[in-house]
Amino acid sequence: MDLQFKVEAFTGPLDLLLHLIEKNKVNIYDIPIVMITEQYLDYVAKMGDDDMDTMSEFLVMAATLLRIKAKMLLPKETKEEEEVTDPRAELVERLIEYKKYKYAALELKDMEIDAYKTLYRKQELPKEVVEYMPTVDAAEVISNTDIDLARLNDIFNEVMKRMTDKVDPVRSKFGKIEKEKISVEDKIIDVRARLKGLSGIHFRSLLKAQASKLELVVTFLAILELMKSGFLSVRQSHSFGEIYLDSLEG
């Protein structure tokens, strides 16, 4: 018997096995394992090895068949009470299960042919419907929140506070906006004006009058500059002690 198969004729080893069982008209619950295994191997031997992935799946089944065959040929060593399980049982179960879906697949194939004859329609909404803007009930929007008049008032106060902070003259010096306006030159004039004719001014008190870090730094630079130019001198009685500034200007 020369059987010509194509690999793609079967969707997998179970498909081939079912084909062999049905072709030989044997009972699926009593598979003549020797014959079926022989035919199965015969088929696998004829398979091209161009598709190694599929091939390996077929070989796994071949191994299973050979194992079942061996088990069936071996003399049964069983204790009397023990029920013997048929080595084929698991395979039969798989075949029945697979067959169910293979049958369902055929049904689906038929169903698809009819269903394909149904046509649908794209969504086409009238322009007026698409452009329609629903009116929102303001009262509902408000009632969805926990806002009342007092809260609204608080919110407004907060907003105003933030704005006030921004334009507040003291506060604004902390901001980024006016940074560039503090120059060492201006500070020199400022410090000279404050110290003129005075001696023993606390360095700390001078710094205290500065509102921002930037002003602190600029004031410090101004003091260094004034020392260098001989407008003031600095003294400290001991390490970490108070620093005094003395104006050298009359």
Binding site: L119, V130, A139, D148, V159, A211
Partner: protein, 191 residues
């Protein structure tokens, strides 16, 4: 095919095509001459064009088209505008409070107070029917002026914007003092 089947065929054609279908194309598909086809299309119109149908058939030049019965547009708007949650975000609340207390006010003025853009918030508040356009400022570009709506007042149970809680100047002065104190505190820590 009998008349019933021919009508059903035209029904299927107009449904699936969506757009206006020329009579001559329908005629070819149902294998009838154009005159008969027009007659059948008119029969289909008689069948559909009444208030018991959500679908209507209209005639356009030498074409026929299926469309939605205008009477049911309102129902359609309900299905595409599934009720949204109308949320008032913090930004929207701030914008609303500014409009409530400073109305009439322009977007630019709101932005000056908040320091950030407010287009989205203003648009949403308009959509929510809480604010409305109340006029235009007599200034270059004639910017829109916004104010709160009557619905807004009703929602808060007040009859006029004058009934809104007063923002007192004392409070604002407090803020200023607070800001100064804060600055001093910060300074002491740093030195």
């Amino acid at each position: 095919m009998g008349t019933k089947e021919l009508l059903a065929s035209i029904e299927a054609i107009l449904f699936a095509m969506g757009e206006a279908v020329p009579v001559k194309d329908i005629a070819v598909a149902i294998e009838q001459d154009e005159e008969v086809t027009v007659g059948l299309c008119h029969m289909l119109m008689d069948k559909y064009n009444n208030s018991e149908h959500g679908i209507h058939v209209i005639e356009l030049e030498q074409s026929f088209q299926m469309c939605t019965n205008q009477e049911y547009y309102e129902t359609l708007t309900k299905i595409i505008n599934t009720p949204k949650k109308h949320v008032l975000t913090d930004v929207m609340l701030e914008t609303l409070s500014i409009i409530a207390y400073s109305q009439p006010v322009t977007k630019a003025q709101i932005e000056k107070i908040r320091g950030v853009k407010c287009d989205h918030a203003v648009n949403k508040l308009l959509e929510y029917n809480l604010i409305e356009e109340v006029g235009r400022l007599e200034a270059p570009g004639r910017p829109m002026l916004f104010g709160t709506t009557e619905d807004f007042l009703r929602s808060f149970g007040v009859s006029s914007v004058d009934d809104l809680p007063v923002i007192d100047e004392v409070k604002l002065e407090d803020f200023k003092q607070e800001a100064i104190k804060e600055a001093e505190l910060e300074f002491n820590v740093e030195v």
